[in-house]
């Protein structure tokens, strides 16, 4: 039996332009800042490491195959 992975959380960003007409991202939950690709890389990896931390602390139930 194949089961879909369960979504545990999600952060969304919307595209936007800065004054130089370069593509940037805006946090959908906090729209006061334009985020560059460098900022986004940092945020994604921070999210991944936070997920790993929760996993190691036993806060995320293991997937039963």
């Amino acid at each position: 039996m194949v089961r879909e992975p369960q979504s545990l959380g999600r952060k969304s960003y919307r595209p936007a332009l800065n004054f130089a007409r370069e593509l940037r991202w805006v946090d959908a939950a906090k729209r006061d800042q334009l985020l560059s690709n460098d900022d986004m890389v940092q945020r994604v990896l921070d999210q991944l490491l936070a997920l790993l931390e929760r996993l190691n602390q036993g806060k995320i139930p293991r997937y039963e195959y």
Binding site: Q6, R14, E22, V41, V44, L48, L51, L52, L55, I60
Partner: protein, 184 residues
């Protein structure tokens, strides 16, 4: 400083000289204020971008860091006009297939590559087992990051010919995710 030059940015100049003053035009079409001499201008943000503007400001700051730099954005009709023009440009460019293909698409590919590169760097510098990869998916891209515990992050940006109702979603899952193919 607004078009009337009424705020306090000129005060350091009265003490330290006018060389510390840098005017930045936000676009190439709006007229600059009548009181601003051509010889005092400046920097064109539209042409050179924010990063170059930061470099110009740093260039004018002496090595001892003692002199303040007043970087002023000129906006003849106040900041509201610049915001309206920017929003109009955004709506136009996000619906422009050429801009999406030539500018947005490479920027998103660059983001996916950087995420994978940094995940690989973390993996190589730590004992964390992180798998990563990205691929074309439903017209956009998706990037998968997996940790040893089989929990994973999925970064996905879905778009086709226009950027309309597009989101970059970073979703956490409790299980392994798979890429369907190789990244282009």
């Amino acid at each position: 400083m607004d078009a009337r030059g009424t705020d306090g940015h000129h005060r350091p100049c009265l003490k330290q000289g006018w060389d510390s003053l840098l005017f930045v035009t936000l676009d190439s079409t709006s007229p600059v204020p009548a009181w601003l001499p051509d010889t005092r201008i400046r920097f064109n943000m539209e042409t050179y971008g924010v990063e170059q503007a930061v470099g110009a400001v740093k260039f004018r700051r002496p090595a001892d860091g003692r002199r303040d730099i007043a970087a002023v954005a000129t906006c003849p009709r106040g900041p509201r006009k610049g915001g309206i023009v920017l929003k109009q440009d955004q709506e136009r460019l996000f619906a422009d297939l050429t801009w999406v293909e030539d500018t947005a698409h490479p920027a998103i590919v660059d983001l996916m590559k950087r995420i994978v590169n940094q995940a690989e760097r973390i993996r190589s510098e730590t004992d964390l087992l992180i798998e990563s990869g990205y691929e074309l998916y439903q017209g956009g891209f998706r990037c998968v990051l997996l940790t040893v515990g089989d929990a994973g992050d999925l970064v996905a940006a879905h778009y086709r010919n226009v950027i309309e109702d597009v989101k970059l979603e970073c979703t956490e899952y409790n299980a392994r995710l798979h890429l369907f193919g190789n990244a282009p």
